[in-house]
């Protein structure tokens, strides 16, 4: 299925992926009583603070992420993806690392778990990172910076 006017969009796959992400976060919440925030769990796994879950649990979650992507890759026969050059990736990673720790979360913790809880902090954080993300892409496009 395609969206009229948006030939590139994959709304059904997007919705299905989103439901899976929601189910994952719901499992973490209802079974373990915790927020499935990737930046916090990744920080916890490597000993850089983060959520209160045990480090072994954080590692299991982090290891599960590529395993889940691998399952989709094997079932679908490959995943389309194009990545920026190493320097761009390193700069972006550094900024994302600093930002997510200062801001106490990322797309998953704030954007999914916090917004669905109607947390004021998460709604403000999500609106903020969406705005700066949109502005960053717009500015890069305006200067003709093609990274992908």
């Amino acid at each position: 299925m395609t969206l009229p006017g948006f030939p590139e969009a994959a709304p059904l796959a997007g919705l299905a992926g989103g439901v899976l992400i929601g189910l994952a976060a719901a499992l973490m919440l209802l079974a373990l009583g915790r927020i499935a925030g990737v930046s916090g769990l990744a920080a916890k796994a490597v000993g850089l603070g983060g959520s209160g879950i045990r480090r072994s649990g954080a590692w299991m979650f982090v290891i599960g992420l590529p395993l889940g992507a691998l399952v989709v890759m094997l079932m679908s026969g490959g995943i389309d993806a194009s990545f920026a050059n190493p320097v761009t990736l390193a700069i972006a990673g550094l900024v994302v690392g600093v930002g997510t720790r200062l801001g106490s979360g990322c797309t998953s913790g704030h954007g999914v778990c916090g917004v669905s809880r109607l947390s004021a902090r998460s709604i403000v954080a999500t609106l903020t990172f969406m705005a700066t993300g949109i502005a960053t892409v717009a500015v890069m496009n305006a200067f003709g910076l093609e990274v992908l």
Partner: protein
């Protein structure tokens, strides 16, 4: 043991959702952020699907004395809007826009494009370490 298995299952489901929804493709993520250009709304469906499921899960929490597999809920209690929150989120969004990757997809993409994803993830952990060091120095 049980916590570990549930955490692993959560990670696998989460990673599968990211890959299926297209979030592991930086081009699609940047296409979503490119609202002034050739906008790709796919990620709105990803976020919408995830938020709807989680909104239902949140409704169940007050009816539960404790989680299924843990002794108590450990949920964020902070409610203050601080400069750290807004500044950190602003920075995160800039990094997200630059390469089209946030933490979950960056880690999940380790099986899709290992070298590129590892570059992003190692730099992200370095950024987290910088904040950790700065916090240690100021306290």
């Amino acid at each position: 043991m049980r916590t570990g298995l549930i955490s692993l299952a959560t990670g696998i489901l989460f990673g599968a959702g990211l890959a299926l929804g297209g979030m592991t493709d930086p081009a699609r993520v940047r296409g979503f952020l490119d609202i002034f250009g050739d906008w790709d709304p796919t990620l709105a469906f990803v976020m919408g699907g995830a938020v709807i499921v989680m909104a239902i899960a949140w409704r169940l929490v007050p009816r539960m004395a404790e989680p299924f597999a843990a002794e108590e809920f450990h949920l964020p209690t902070k409610s203050d809007l601080t400069p750290h929150l807004v500044g950190g989120a602003a920075l995160f969004g800039i990094g997200w826009g630059i390469a089209g990757l946030c933490p979950g997809p960056g880690i999940a993409a380790l099986v899709i494009e290992p070298a590129a994803a590892a570059t992003f993830v190692v730099a992200m952990l370095a950024g987290m370490a910088v904040v950790r060091l700065a916090e240690g120095a100021s306290s």
